[in-house]
Assembly symmetry: C2
Homo-oligomer: 168 residues x 2
DNA sequence: ACCATTTTTCACAAACTTTTGAAAGTTCAA
DNA sequence: TTGAACTTTCAAAAGTTTGTGAAAAATGGT
């Protein structure tokens, strides 16, 4: 397989992955492109590589910067802005986890806490079933929250140190 | 908070959660409804509770059955079909994980294996950067695959006892 | 201050997804 | 075999998301 072909396949695979995860396809493709490029790219270069419009490029690059996945790079003596992506996939995974947790899990935890305050006859089987569901989901959500917090805070050696603990 | 209100809030929260995760909103709402109801519901009852059409109900209930999240229940002496959802959230999480892994992670692993076979001058920095990216992502993807497999196969107490200890 | 270059915005168009409801299909008891 | 009860299908409508490109705004060198 040639580089150009492999690049195209990777960009397209990462793109559909993003789409399945509720992330805009173009955003994921720009991210893929920047991850495999050794040097930063300008907006025009991204437009040319992916065949997308200026507006689209601008919007999605900005969103990637919001997520903390892409950085602006200023090349001395150049007016243009360049963009680059974190290449360590573990760091990328942690950034994405942190951001999704904040946007998705945190609001759910809040809603679940509220729902615990349900008043009603505990002998009513509808009330009972509801309370049991919410309690179970809440407990699970807190466990996930704890695990994700640990992952987000973990440093590079987390996996290694975890393995060590396992074998003790 | 009254039961009806709490129910509505839960259904709507679970629904947006689903939407963010690339699952159809109605499908997630039907799932939420069935999780909190003590007894199975018929298609007509689902239609009435959620204010949706017959076709929509049918389509999404079938999809939930495909995912293994909802079961058909036949009530003796009744012609109608009833539907019920698994109420143990850990089982639900495992079903969803198994299904999403199959649909999403497995194809990515395949694509990554292919991309490892890239030929090209190892001194070319583009080739070098690409290979390094793919190798890192591939290693990470395999770790995730392993972790998810363990989770999917786990029994009810695995999450609490093992994972929690690991992360502490 | 001016102008050339670059970035951002935004109204609209295109593509895609979801929902509806009526019609067709199936099932089963009599 | 019939018809009432129920389920499934499907084409069209509604809704949502994404992408475009031209215009406006910002920037920085002279």
């Amino acid at each position: 397989m040639k580089l150009a072909e492999a690049k195209a396949q990777f960009i397209q695979t990462w793109g559909s992955l993003g789409a399945q995860w509720g992330i805009n396809r173009t955003m994921a493709q720009i991210h893929a492109l920047l991850m495999i490029m050794p040097d930063p790219l300008s907006a025009d270069e991204i437009m040319a590589e992916l065949n997308i419009s200026r507006g689209n490029t601008n919007m999605n690059v900005r969103e990637l910067i919001n997520w903390g996945l892409v950085d602006r790079v200023l090349v001395p003596g150049e007016r243009k802005e360049y963009f680059t992506a974190e290449k360590d996939i573990y760091k990328v995974a942690r950034e994405i986890t942190r951001e999704r947790k904040r946007r998705e899990l945190d609001p759910i935890l809040k809603s679940l806490e509220q729902l615990q305050e349900l008043e009603g006859d505990p002998k009513d089987k509808h009330v009972k079933a509801f309370k049991e569901s919410i309690t179970g989901i809440n407990r699970f959500a807190h466990q996930v929250d704890g695990a994700l917090n640990t992952f987000v805070k973990a440093d590079e050696n987390w996996f290694t140190s975890t393995l060590l603990k396992l074998f003790k």
